[in-house]
Amino acid sequence: MSRPKPSQPDATVLTGAHYLDGDEACAEGAIAAGCRFFAGYPITPSTEIAERIASRFPLVGGTFIQMEDELASMAAILGGAWGGAKAMTVTSGPGFSLMMENIGLGIMTETPCVVVNVQRGGPSTGLPTLTGQQDMMQARWGSHGDYEVIALSPSSPQECFDLTITAFGLSERYRLPVLFMMDECVGHMTEKVVIPPAEDIPVIERRWYRGPKESYLPYQAGPDKVPDMVRAGDDYRIHITGLTHDERGYPVINAACQSVCVSRLVDKIRDNAGDIVITDEEAVDGADVVVVSYGISYRVATRAIALARAEGIKVGSVRLVTVWPFPEARIAELSRKVKALVMPEINLGQMYRELQRAAAGNCRTLLIPHCGGWVHDPNDVLAAIREGAK
Amino acid sequence: MKYWRRPLDADHCRSPHGIVHIIINRCKGCGFCINYCPKQVLEFSRHFNRKGYHPPVVVKPEACVDCGLCGAICPEFAIWSTPNPECILDEPAEAKPA
């Protein structure tokens, strides 16, 4: 099948400086990453991504479909990925809950795709129009069974663009649904977003199988534990199932196969964590207190850090760009050097549990909880920094 | 096959004749083929197969007309028919010329 060039060469990547909100930037990032299949269901505050995709896809040769619900949206992008497209869906808390079973299917069948969750306050319908960071543990453990995930959390509209491309790259590289954990503030914040020239955008293509057809096994992995993929319609006669399966993709319902199958799904992320984990550190060396934050909470933390420094407190910052896998080795290392690790997050302690676990009592760990609906007051973060510096 | 009159093309047309193939150990003894064979070619074997079912057995091989029904209805892919190159004539003597 030939790929006709877009009628306007600049239609795909809108190179230049723009004034975009995080949702729109995420949509542009997806298009720049090569996403050409989108299935979604409207939900605040993620809808603007779907709206942007719906208006942009007809110009760039993509297919947009609004499904009947989030269960369908998630299933459809898995189908789209096996059909040979880079695929994405977007949602918020309630829809994310509905997607969980099929996120598990994506993990089990090793299907590359990107799931965006523009988080709002929960539980249940909660605060549809107000922010939250309360789905962080759901991202990690929301689908049943044992598995590892990759989740990213952007802090600005620029990052919504850049990290969406990274998310697609990681999903193709490690073959799994990558969770893009935005929040309402980042999604609806409008800032300058610079879109680089198309040739400067690092797009990672699918790991196509290149060997002979006869010897293809859908789940035979190399040393990096990630198998190569084919697409439906190329006569490989693949069988793909959500059941525990062997290298042929055939269901095998016993403990031995479960051990091989599930261990590899987990190990392909754990073993490659060094390649996956992205943190953004600042002034960590010699700091007494390090603020560990992600998403919109990082933006609030930067203000508190500036105020603390004005008071003479040696404070550094670690921003979790990838929230999952959690950078536990780095946090453990820091915990032996600092007095306290401080974490503001818009929930009552989710990633904080990981922080505590990684710090293992080597230093104080302070949570600055927040129920959601609005971001932290920087003074609350400042107070925690002061407390940690004591 | 019996006709109410001798077919006009009886001297040069022959009704098809088939050979029944059975993979007896794949059979789960449902009896669909036996019951719905239009020519009653099959019966349950008195023997058990490896799974413990009674597979079909061909009792009237000469009656098979290769209609393919056994092959289509079998849920186990265990029986089918193929054309028998050695066609046999119908029983023209039984039908009187029109």
Partner: protein, 305 residues
Amino acid sequence: MSELLTTPAPGGPVVEEERHPHEPFLRMDRIPHIWCSTCGLGTVLNCYITAIQRSSVPRADHTIVSGIGCTGRAAGYVKIDSFHTTHGRALPFATGLKLANPRLKVTVFSGDGDLVAIGGNHLIHAARRNMDMTVICVNNFNYAMTGGQFGPTTPEGAKLTTAPYGSYEHPFNIPFLVDSCGATYVARWTSLHVREMIETLVEALNHRGFSFVEVISPCPTVYARRNRLGTGLDLLKYYHDSAEVRHGADTRDVDISFKGRIIVGRFVQRCKPTYLDTMDAALGRSVGKEFVCYEGPMQASDGRS
């Protein structure tokens, strides 16, 4: 005993080593399948494989998607690209496959519980969109894989483990449901009507748009046993006695009652633009010259197209 078994039966060859003509289309390393003796699922699968070969679609383009349940296992036995998805979600998964690679002939092969109960929302919307795919819905009137619970197709009065005193819910008339939602090809047969089923499946596979074939099929182990209906063979005899072929029947009239008549035939066959037809046409009209039609799936690096 094995000696006796491999001895040709009197008067006819019984061949052990030969290969069934469908074997090139079956994952023989997974045969025998899991379905019970006198279950009709194998028959429907058998007819589907015949229909694939008789359809005008090249083999490589045939793709089968199943959900969960006894029927959901069908995908695992056919040697074409096959996907065994989650419960109820075969249709949206299939929708994604079709839209990402419109060349594919996607068939959803699943059960009544999967398609009409948990997947009911997707069924009505796939029909409404006239999504270009074929759905084979094997209806055995119950959830068999989990041991025989009643479902949305169980006839009133039938006893099942979660309806021990008989089901008192009004069942769906599935052809009417999909017809009223916009399906452009609707047919029903029983697993006894193999020739008609094959013909219909070939038509359904060649049909452009949402084609839906319901196949009434015996569940001997749970449905028939609980309701003292005998074996699957006895149910085939019931189909034989109670089925009434009525092509073009008004789908409002084809509901099924417990031990009642079963109206079969091709009920609906109409032409209507498919989802992709309307999408491309509408976008082409409104977006104009700047519209770029979906460019197809990513090219695999070895140049396959």
